[in-house]
Structure formats: structure tokens, C-alpha cells
Symmetry: C2
Subunit: 174 residues, 2 copies
């Protein structure tokens, strides 16, 4: 689940009491659209991420839960950003956008809490669980939402990519 | 360039005089077809290879020289065969075939000579140069062809995948 952050200091105080700080890093993501499917319609995503851990290729399936953004996700480490991009381009995939964010990661067991800052969009908090047990994970995320004082009904379903493309559209750049 | 091997012993004797033996390994290749392009028609290929060096993703463009099988090729190391296969499958790519071969690799500077053995197909020799200088590489390959006593007009343009699919077709399995 993702929320806009209103009081960053208070939120970080609450997170620090619940979870352990892991790392702060820059994540530089490039998203691709499919040669013969419109990911904006199918609600899928294909991404190459570069950060301090290396390069990762990630596929995200369409959301299977409306509130929590639960999705199928497959990711693997790859050796080279440019070569992966070149292969995808030769296969007809097209860059649909780029998302660069500063991310502070906290962890409590299987729960990952990220405080993200994106230029032009501001601060957000994401609560994530990687699990096969969708219902259990959902319940746990709701518990954390409450403990952090976040209002479930204010959760944001849009991806950062969609938010960035919205801003570009509104500025007449899209 | 690729040739069928008639006298393996004599050929290996000649290769050993020209190039240095590097390694013998099993290469296990899975090929994919595109979700909205027929690679058999566009003469492209997308492959995940597993061998003793790890896992590699390779894209091959269509042949740009009729005789030498010269192609654009982009490859990168990846972390996990099954996850790459899963991502490709979710993107609509379909397995078109599998090629397993025993390969003995020899090298002389930028020239790579491989003696391949494939079950049901027999022994082959491949001479390969990775280079931006297509004409120079072509000339060099012809020199090696001659030194190894191979007849240029007997070079095989078909890929191992095509040869395997041909055999399957003839056996009524295709």
C-alpha cells in the first residue's frame, strides 16, 4: 500500500519504533511497454532497475487486489542495464517512462516499509510484503497502516510511473 | 560459418595446430518465439543458455551476410534461468525448441573454433569471430576455412534449432 506523506518527521519516528532501518539508496527505474499489448490497459509492468545493489529486471502482473495493489512479481538480477535495454528494444519493447526516487528502506521481518522522495511529486510511504499468502499479507499490511497512523481510504493505487506521466500530461509534455 | 564434420580426428589435429584448446562443456539452450512476430520468418532468435559459465540471455538479429551467417548479437549474463523463462512466458514469448550440445572450444586471438556434438545430428565445426569489422572478419573466417580443409560451398546456413525441428518434422513429431 502506498500513501502520501504529510508529516515526514512524525512518520519516521513511528516507523523507527516498529522497524529497523536498512539502507538509503537511489533507485533509477526504466519502464517498457509491450510490442503488441498496451501495459497501461493490461495493468502489467516491465522494468529495469539500477541501484546500489546492481541491475534487476522485474515483471509485474496486473493487480489482483483493488485496495492493496497485490500483484504477481518476478524479478532477477542481470549483468548489464544497457544490453538488457538493447535486447528489449530489438524485441519491439518501447521505453514508456523513467522513475528516479530516493528511497529509505526499513524492515520488520517480512514487512518492508519504504519512504520515497520523488522530484516533483514529494514524499510517499510504501508498505510491502512479499508472500504467497495474499490474505495473511493483506491483514498484516492493514495492521501496519494503522500503527503508522495512515488512513486506509487514502491509499494511492497509482504507480509512480502513472503519477509522473499524469504530471507530464498536465504540463502538456505527454 | 558452420560445417558438418566428416573426419573428426583429422579436423581436431588441424585445429590443434592453429588454435588453443579452451574448454569442453555442455550448452543447454532454450529458444523462444516472439508473441507477435514469427522469428522463423524474421530470422531472429532469442535464447537462454545454461552452461558451466552460468546463464546467458542472447538476442540474434537476422543474418546480414548470406554465406557467413553474420548477425547482430546482444548477450548478457543473468542470474536465474527459471525466472527469465517465467518473465518471457508472462510477456507472451513461447518456447520454440531446445538445443543441447557438447562443445569443445578452441581459440586463436579473436577467432573461436567450436567442435559440436548434437544427439541425432552428429558432429559439426563452427568458426566464429565477434567483430564490428564485418568484411575483415569474413576474410579471416575464409582463411581459417581453407586452413582447416573445409569447403566454403558446403557451409551450413541452418541453425541447430532449425535442424532439430526439421528432424522432428520428418519423424512426424513437429
Amino acid at each position: 500500500m502506498k500513501f502520501r506523506v504529510t508529516d515526514l518527521e512524525e512518520l519516521e519516528r513511528r516507523i523507527s519504533a516498529l522497524a529497523e532501518f536498512v539502507v538509503e539508496k537511489i533507485e533509477d527505474d526504466v519502464y517498457f511497454n509491450h510490442p503488441c499489448r498496451n501495459f497501461a490497459e493490461t495493468d502489467e509492468a516491465l522494468r529495469i532497475r539500477r541501484d546500489s545493489d546492481g541491475v534487476t529486471l522485474t515483471y509485474k502482473g496486473s493487480k489482483i487486489d483493488p485496495e492493496t495493489k497485490t500483484r504477481d512479481e518476478v524479478k532477477l538480477k542481470i549483468d548489464d542495464f544497457e544490453k538488457m535495454k538493447e535486447i528489449l528494444t530489438k524485441l519491439g519493447f518501447r521505453v514508456s517512462g523513467r522513475v528516479v526516487k530516493k528511497r529509505r528502506i526499513y524492515r520488520d521481518d517480512e514487512v518492508t516499509i519504504c519512504i520515497d522522495w520523488l522530484e516533483g511529486l514529494g514524499n510517499f510511504v510504501e508498505i510491502e510484503i512479499e508472500s504467497e499468502d495474499v490474505e495473511g499479507a493483506k491483514k498484516k499490511i492493514f495492521e501496519y497502516t494503522e500503527m503508522l497512523g495512515l488512513e486506509r481510504e487514502k491509499s494511492i493505487r497509482k504507480s509512480y510511473l502513472e503519477m509522473i506521466l499524469d504530471v507530464a500530461d498536465n504540463n502538456g509534455e505527454g
